[in-house]
Symmetry: C2
Subunit: 376 residues, 2 copies
């Protein structure tokens, strides 16, 4: 899975064409390299999905059906589907984190499901707020079932997430619910920042990363610790796992931002130059604008004109490609790839502060590697 | 506050003109009659508001400002306002319920604030889903700040509600959070039913009451028990208080449905014949349709034609007044007033199952009386 040869060689990300944007990452350890990440993701998915489905079945009609559509279990006509349920990194992390404490991975399941529910609540609402019509190669819920159902079902998933934890009735579940609530608050703060940045001419790299830490880092932090909390971990252990997850989230988002511009639409399920079409001030863009120099200045002028353009929606492929080239020439692509590697290193390093079985540590490292080298 | 003279006399609700729709209610007891309900509501408001304001201050901009607008603390331009913060029945119930256990009313405050936050989360989202442009005499949040902010700030208030309870970190708070989550789930179920009923020709009285139990009963049930739960009440006591609150909610909603048709716009802050304009299948309407007889049948034909009318929005005052008269002639108004009285009686009777100080019992009864005789 890891391109070890490239790790010591020249960086390929600065000159990659679309579909080859992933930063090369040195494996955290030989142990991590030996981990079967596909099996690890599959374990999380296999453990969490039946419980997630049972939770969704608790919803009153038509919210159960709308949710099933959102999760890809049925199509818009209600026929069974085998949709792309996503990468399932969060459930894999949640059940793995239970093992930090020596507990069985199953202990993490309610946490895995709660985190997935919160994640999907935010997708439902964000897609509506942002006017996004496609997700995972399919029409978004508000496009198919209308804005009211997107709001309502999002609310229901959020409530269900709390229910999953609180109905356990234990002190550990109360602590887990509290951490999940903090993560959800951060998620909402991040969306508020994202919306406000759309109306601004300039966003700093720091502001962008704060937003991404809230939108992505907080919930990955929760996913990385929730199983441990349910397994009785102390606050120091939980905080350390959250630190791993937070930086993993920043790495994840840096890669997402690369894929949002240079990702292969066949892999990502999004339109080509997706983030540029949405005028998104993502990490490569803000880094390019902050870099200074001729390409950076030219990019600034073009994006300022774009912001005022009434014809932006009709721009050609070539026009978006030209903007992507400028971002790359200004160093925004390479900076973001380097940032993904940097956050990946911090994430794995954070785990040194706590004890856990070697196998579990290697699996955390392997999941971090996966997040950074994924193509979708 | 109570019209004792009318209590034994002829029912006025069947013949009342607009603004005189409230059912006459015999006082539950002389003790209840002696309670200063205004002071009781004021106590809840005084205890809860500073904590609610501090909670809202935790929100990142612009969510704090949007919330402050929603709560009536500032106007659309951001200037301080002294808006109508609502009747404050829920906070009064929450702090009162703490006293059931012998605890100080202050023990109920986090519960009062959490319930208010959930209530206002649902208002923000429901107003957007329903397209309601006015609430409490003011433009709704989505009209002033846009749909995205209404979604986002609603989400933030929901998350903050959980935070208020879970950050207490006690087993009692965990139990309270679990009950609040159940109530929120019911609230969402009720909104789902409300939306689905809009697309149906007929809704039964039972379906209407199930929806109202979810939309109004569940959260009033939680408000009526949350202080007691925080004060250490056992499940039987909490369930009993929830039963009081649930039936109080049904009484509350029956009165709301009367006010939604015959309420005085000056008092309610809504348009005249508000619920008829929205084609709402509220209790007086479904009861009138279920009653049978000439007026009921005529009403059914007219409403069926209205449902298909493309000109409905331009109907005159007289046309709505004619529909209201038919509902009244079919017995829908009187049935709903009687139902408010019936639910009021069940609510107060439920409290007989548990011990509590006489003063507290009288105050619960007085709040129930208030809910049923209010004019807004």
């Amino acid at each position: 899975m890891l391109d070890q040869q490239a790790a010591g060689g020249p960086r390929t990300s600065g000159t990659a064409t679309r579909g080859e944007t992933v930063p090369t990452v040195p494996p955290a350890s030989t142990a991590a390299d030996a981990v079967d990440v596909t099996a690890l993701l599959e374990r999380g998915r296999t453990l969490a999905t039946p419980v997630l489905r049972a939770a969704i079945d608790r919803l009153a009609p038509p919210m159960d059906t709308v949710s099933a559509y959102h999760f890809g279990w049925i199509d818009a006509d209600g026929n069974p589907a085998h949709g792309d349920g996503g990468k399932a990194v969060r459930p894999a992390l949640a059940v793995l984190s239970a093992e930090v404490t020596g507990a069985a991975p199953e202990i993490g399941i309610p946490g895995a499901v709660a985190v997935e529910l919160v994640h999907n609540f935010s997708l439902l609402h964000d897609d509506l707020m942002d006017g996004d019509e496609q997700r995972r190669h399919r029409d978004t819920v508000w496009k198919v079932h209308g804005p009211a159902q997107a709001i309502l079902v999002g609310d229901a998933l959020f409530a269900l997430a709390n229910e999953m934890l609180l109905e356990l009735g234990t002190a550990e579940a109360g602590r887990a619910a509290r951490r999940l609530t903090s993560a959800t608050r951060a998620l909402i703060d991040g969306q508020a920042q994202d919306i406000s940045y759309e109306h601004r001419d300039r966003v700093s790299v720091e502001e962008c990363q704060e937003m991404e830490g809230n939108k992505t880092g907080a919930l990955l932090a929760c996913a990385s610790s929730v199983g441990a909390v349910l397994g009785g971990a102390d606050d120091y252990t939980a905080d350390t796992l959250e630190k791993y997850g937070h930086h993993l989230g920043l790495a994840f988002q840096a890669v997402d931002d690369l894929l949002g511009i240079w990702g292969d639409p066949v892999s990502t399920g999004k339109q080509a130059w997706s983030d540029l079409r949405q005028r998104k001030k993502s990490l490569p863009v803000v880094a390019a604008l902050a870099a200074g120099g001729p390409a950076s200045e030219q990019l600034g002028e073009i994006l300022a004109a774009d912001a005022k353009s009434s014809d932006f929606e009709n721009f050609s492929e070539e026009e978006f490609a030209a903007r992507a080239s400028l971002i790359e020439a200004a160093g925004g692509r390479e900076w973001t790839a380097e940032e993904a590697r940097r956050q990946h290193t911090i994430a794995i390093g954070a785990l040194d502060a706590i004890d856990m079985p070697d196998r579990v540590r290697a699996q955390f490292a392997a999941l971090a590697d996966f997040v950074v080298v994924r193509k979708r």
